[in-house]
Amino acid sequence: MAESARRATGLPEDVRSAIAELRKHYPTEEALLLPALHFAQKHWGGWLPEEAILAVAQELQLPAARVYGVVTFYDLFHQNPVGRHRVRVCTNLSCALRGGNEILEAVQGRLGVRENEVSGDGKCSVVEFECLGACEQAPMMMVDDEYHGRLTPERARRIVEELD
């Protein structure tokens, strides 16, 4: 289908053109789903409200149920509001051996949140996460897109305090 012939969807133009750019590199529309959800999630502030999911479904001409199925399968897609900053603390074995659970405790304690809660000021949500592939830096955590390693509880607290 020519780009101009594509009907408007609920997706903003920049997301639509990012998807259009990828279209020529994949043989099916469906293959654009993960990239499209990444773009949409970024646009909607880190999570995918119903509106976003329906817009992506419409853009790729997929049944909404298919898109929901994919969103619920992957740990990095969120169906509930998240904080402005997402903190993921690894507690898998290599980090656990070096105090990963103490880092999680320290961060959650500092922000006054439990698993999956958003701090009162909307600043942070914190989750316990599986191995992030940086065990040489254990204990470590991921804040938004950045890795922070060789943490102590004090350093971890300072990192989340300094977020705006």
Binding site: L37, H38, F73, L93, E130, G133, E136
Partner: protein, 434 residues
Amino acid sequence: MSYEPVLLRRSAGAAPGAPPVGIGAYRDDGGYEGLAKALTMAPAEIIEEVKASGLRGRGGAGFPAGVKWSFIPKESDKPKYLVCNADESEPGTFKDRLLIETDPHQLLEGCAICCYAVGAPVCYIYIRGEYVRQAEILESAIREAYQAGVLGESVLGKGFKLDMRVHRGAGAYICGEETGMLESLEGRRGQPRVKPPFPAIIGAFGAPTVINNVETLCNVPHIIQRGADWFAGIGTDERNTGPKLYCISGHVEKPGVYEFPIGASLDTLLEAAGGMLAGRALKAFIPGGASAALLPADKSHLPMDFDNLAKAGSMLGSAAVVVMDETTCLVRSVYRLAKFFAHESCGQCTPCREGTNWSQLVLGRIEKGHGRPGDAELLVRMTANMSGTALCALADACVGPVRSLAQNFRPEIEEHINSGRCPLPYRRVFEETA
């Protein structure tokens, strides 16, 4: 004899956080000469060379790479694909991240040679969603390669057309399993497929597809440039050849990625990694990532290659070596791994969905002091039902650590059950609490 790194030759001395080797520096160091040479060879010759090198897959299963490539049909009415597996989600593993962060063109070159050898005009590098910076590094290296005429309409001006894309996952261990990865690439939940047909015949988008790990592909330019004989001369024997990256983590002084000829022992790695943390004694180690059976301290001299580790009842896997010292409760450690597998099971096969969850529950109750007499036997019986009974090897991955704990470290389980508590309760790593 000191060993000259191959895979890390350009990055071994680099400061942490240094920018990746760019295309200029890469070419100055002989980079892309393997690709140039490959393009003068017949595709079949390249496959023969890779076969002769003995290179086995570095992603976990150790399948011979050249043999896998030879399964790709010469003729196909659909475009063939290479999908590079950069999902790297096996707990304890971080070598592919280092290869991408430090020397991305080495990977691109390996991918390009593979594509030419099997006749694939498209390569997707499927990278785990958490590797955001690493995906950006690859994308910028790909841009450099297009600008330099290394990729695109005519690779190095020799008429071979190749499109390369980075495709980001979104957080799911199962998408490292090759057919789960294909499902995910195609825009679906990452639920593994029934095999056969194998991806070499029906892979991505229904077309013949090669899937190889990042490290596997990084070896390829060196094999083409320096020859199969050179490669086969490195390692333990003709079935275990070439350089190998070992990721060592846990209770060691200097955790990190260390390159050795395949077949390095834990003793060798420990020496390189500054020894055990705080000089404590070794209790047990995992040689090949979360899916591998735990080995006791007295196996630290064992050459860690595919066959020696298989003989010892474990596996090389992704060569993620997790070291646990004398203060470590192995029940708690394996419980943590079982919890991981239960979280990551895609849920489509009953033995895996139920088995991983029950492994977690039974180990959890033992650790909390509520274990029941017979729980060790129960774990062994459960693992028998999980082994080889599902569509993919995730259930078997959970079996690795769980069964080895129940069989080889049984006294530790019994002690938990008999005393009604963990004999090695968690000791805080950090002094302060507040």
